[in-house]
Symmetry: C2
Subunit: 194 residues, 2 copies
């Protein structure tokens, strides 16, 4: 029940954030397959607040463009798909379905601060599962925080009320455009066993 | 470069949040191995704000106990290890090492709100990578938000200034104590392709 070395390389050790993309599409079936893995990752009370808008058409890319930071524009416009990883601030309205064991909706309706923190934490966790699910299926990712969230929310979420969290370009990476990998912490710099 | 069905089951489809634990230890080498995968997951400007305290000794478990919610106490005291997934609010002081390409420290020193949001988002992403890295190595997880963060911070982070985010029990799960899996969203309930 452990993964082999090649799988660990694909997920973690050899996986890279990509900035250039091969001319190879990401299909509806690919996006569904990523979601159908991601959705099983754990969230608090199974609250599953993450929402995903997959920006693929030229029209939708143009709608996204004004919100992108300068350094993220060219690679995002060129990516086969850009996922807007968002969350639903009213995720708790779905808890009677998602967590039928208890009245979990009441925990969040009574505290706006708890609901907001829970949506952001768990929506972000699901974003992490999403990145690794894509990699597991052989699809490269380019996650980004450099964009104007208010503009994205106005352009894409005026009706739903969802809130953008971060973006993930999806496709098949062009290894020739990779930067060198940046250094990581040693265990003792970031961890303690007590 | 795609994972096989067994690996996808181990990471996502058959993996479960565990509440009961077999009498089998989690070693220092196991904890280092999880970290040595997790650390490669992407973060914004490689900021790597997550910090991990692995609570394993009886003394440290007793220090954690008063912070646990009633429903999380027994299973956490019984778990071979409980990881406190935390983040360093001053993560930016390490950016000259972690992101040598630019003066990224300046981006965060000048905005407390951006620094806090970046620490929470990216520390949480790393928490997601951590859960899947443990599963990849055959170690079961039990993530939890139900605890008093102020108490944990006072008991464990008075000196470092780190902030607790969530907890993850680690060990080898006792399948007889599993709950039934809760329902998940369908693709169209949480996603759109535009």
């Amino acid at each position: 029940m452990t993964l082999d070395a090649g799988a660990l390389d694909t997920l973690f050790r050899e996986a890279r954030t990509h900035n250039g993309w091969l001319d190879q599409p990401v299909t509806d079936d690919d996006l569904r397959a990523i979601f159908d893995l991601m959705k099983y990752g754990p969230t608090s009370a199974n609250c599953s607040p993450a929402r995903f808008v997959f920006v693929r058409s030229a029209e939708a890319k143009e709608k996204l463009k004004p919100a992108l930071s300068a350094g993220n524009t060219a690679k995002t416009m060129a990516a086969p798909v850009t996922a807007i990883v968002a969350y639903d601030p009213k995720f708790y309205d779905h808890l009677p379905k998602l967590f039928p064991h208890a009245d979990a909706r009441a925990w969040f309706v009574s505290s706006e601060a708890l609901a907001q923190e829970t949506a952001f934490r768990n929506g972000t966790l699901q974003g992490g599962y999403f990145i690794l699910a894509a990699r597991a299926l052989g699809i490269d990712t380019g996650p980004m925080s450099g964009f104007d969230k208010a503009k994205v929310d106005e352009a894409f979420f005026a009706e739903s009320g969802w809130k953008s969290n971060f973006l993930v370009n999806l496709g098949y990476g062009d290894a020739t455009s990779l930067f060198a990998r940046s250094p990581r912490f040693e265990f003792a710099e970031a961890c303690a066993i007590v």
